[in-house]
């Protein structure tokens, strides 16, 4: 089944995170539905290139207020903590990659907002950095 050219191509896609890039592009298109998708995609790649040089500000559909409101939804009584199960579910739903599976507070089953925000931000930027690691 695996001819050399096929596995070569698969490696290439994996190495440069092409499929992840296209996933993110699709997410952006679903969310924004721009009139000119080509131009929009070119601009997205431009910002991605810039953030690759600066190694920060990766383009992502969630920003800090979104993360805050997700936390608010999980913690409607404003205790300032969520359970570990909620934490895991939220990570999966937001499409985070490689998040910390034993964050501080996991043993006590209460994860603070700071930990949550930091983890989401880190893993979202990992998910958005769709290029070959330098």
């Amino acid at each position: 089944m695996d001819v050399p050219r096929a596995s070569e191509s698969k490696d290439y896609l994996q190495q440069h995170k092409i499929m992840e890039l296209f996933d993110n592009l699709t997410a952006q298109l679903v969310f924004n539905r721009p009139d000119n998708p080509k131009e929009f995609m070119a601009n997205y790649i431009q910002t991605l290139k810039e953030s690759r040089t600066a190694n920060m500000n990766f383009p992502c559909i969630f920003d800090e207020t979104n993360i805050g409101s997700v936390f608010g939804m999980l913690d409607p009584t404003k205790k300032g903590f969520i359970t570990f199960a909620q934490y895991k579910e939220a990570m999966v739903t937001m499409g985070c990659v490689g998040y910390d599976t034993s964050p501080p507070g996991a043993e006590q089953d209460c994860i603070s907002q700071d930990t949550f925000t930091r983890e989401v931000k880190d893993s979202l930027s990992r998910a958005s950095a769709t290029f070959q690691p330098q």
Partner: protein, 483 residues
Amino acid sequence: MDATKKPLRIPPQFGVYAEKHNLFEMFRKLIEDLLIHKPGDPLEFLQEQLKRDDNDVPAIIIHGPTASGKTTISKMVCSSLRTAYISADNLLADDVSATAAEAKKHLQNNQPIPTDLWVKMIQARLQLYDCVKKGWVLDGFPETREQALALQAVGITAKHYVVLEAPDTVLIERQMGKRIDPQTKEIYHTTFDFPTNPDVESRLVEPPEGCSETSTGERLMKWHRFSKGLERCYEKYSKFVNADQPKADIFAQVLTFLKSKPRSLAPHTPRVILLGPTGSGKGVQAALLASKYNLVNVSSGQLVKEAVANESKMGEAMKPYVERGMLVPDNQMVKLLDERLSQVDCTSRGWVLRGFPRTREQAENLSSCGHEANRVFFLDVPNDSVYERLTLRSLDVVTGQRYHSLYNPPRTVEIKDRGLQQPKDAEEEVRQRLSAFYAYAEEIADFCEDAQHVNADQDPHTVFECIESMLVNPTPKKLDLDE
């Protein structure tokens, strides 16, 4: 975030959006290009690709045995599509390029030109502005499967591959009469296409490749040796045209093929509108489509009746109109349809709508609600057939059996005598419905530019097959020529 209570769905509008902008094909093309070229920096490469304005230019290969008329047809296609014309001769005639000079050296030594040299020449030619901008027609090249594969490996592949075919005897006869005007390079034929101008006639010479039977036979042998291999390279988008026909006929067939778009793997939810006069078989076709393709069969009349019967708010508002036998106002109708077509079964399975729109305004309103059909069919049927189909129907009041005095006549005189006609089938009623349809048919046709016409004056299953083929294949491209 419980997916069972509130399923996480992609908004249905996105499906329409993706289809409108052809996102699937765009993504496929981008990834394909990435895999062919494997650039070191894919981001840079993708940006370049996206900044190009238009990728939808013709890329055509026209091929065929010697004297099949491929050059003539290629030149006709080029002039009507305004694309670049590329053949082995004009690639070699390039004086500037170093590769062409190298290739000519091979020719002078009577050696075949190596494949990589050909690929280099064609690659260089296709990067020029006219090919990128307007597309290209490759005449009689690649000659072997090896060359075709080499071209595909560097990402050069045609969107349409046309093969002109004719029996060998015809081709040999053609070649024997072939004459060339050395000044204009026009091709004439001693019997079929003789020049009218006596000056040209005196200039005619035999073609350089010779027109004897043996040399033609040799070249035909070479064609038969390689043609099967070539076919395999391009089998997904190839078309065989019989070359033993008048030039105009061949050209028309080739052009129809060039208008067709290749099948795409993109997910496709059919959203069909059937338009046609009363008695054209919209209901029958809609039912057939719905059962075969699992579409939701939406009929505007049915919807109104349902709403009234349910005594819903909207139904109550429509009731007075229905009771008086008037048409329901546009805004209520559009609202009702919007509600129906937005339901999950319609957005996920697709729908087939009939009895609506009746006017251009209704069509505009419907598409502004986001329910844009991707196929619109006009069922064309002459008025005489409509009368024949509708006014001759009768109903046996005793058994409830339905009869048609031509297609399904009652078996005994007794049954015939007690048959009654539906008041809706009276000739006067039918005439009114027909004129109501034709009053607005033209303006709807104006609005639905992609509408396709079907001859509905045939057997229902023949009509269905015709509709099916148009539903399954992509809508043909509008070529901006045809004047």
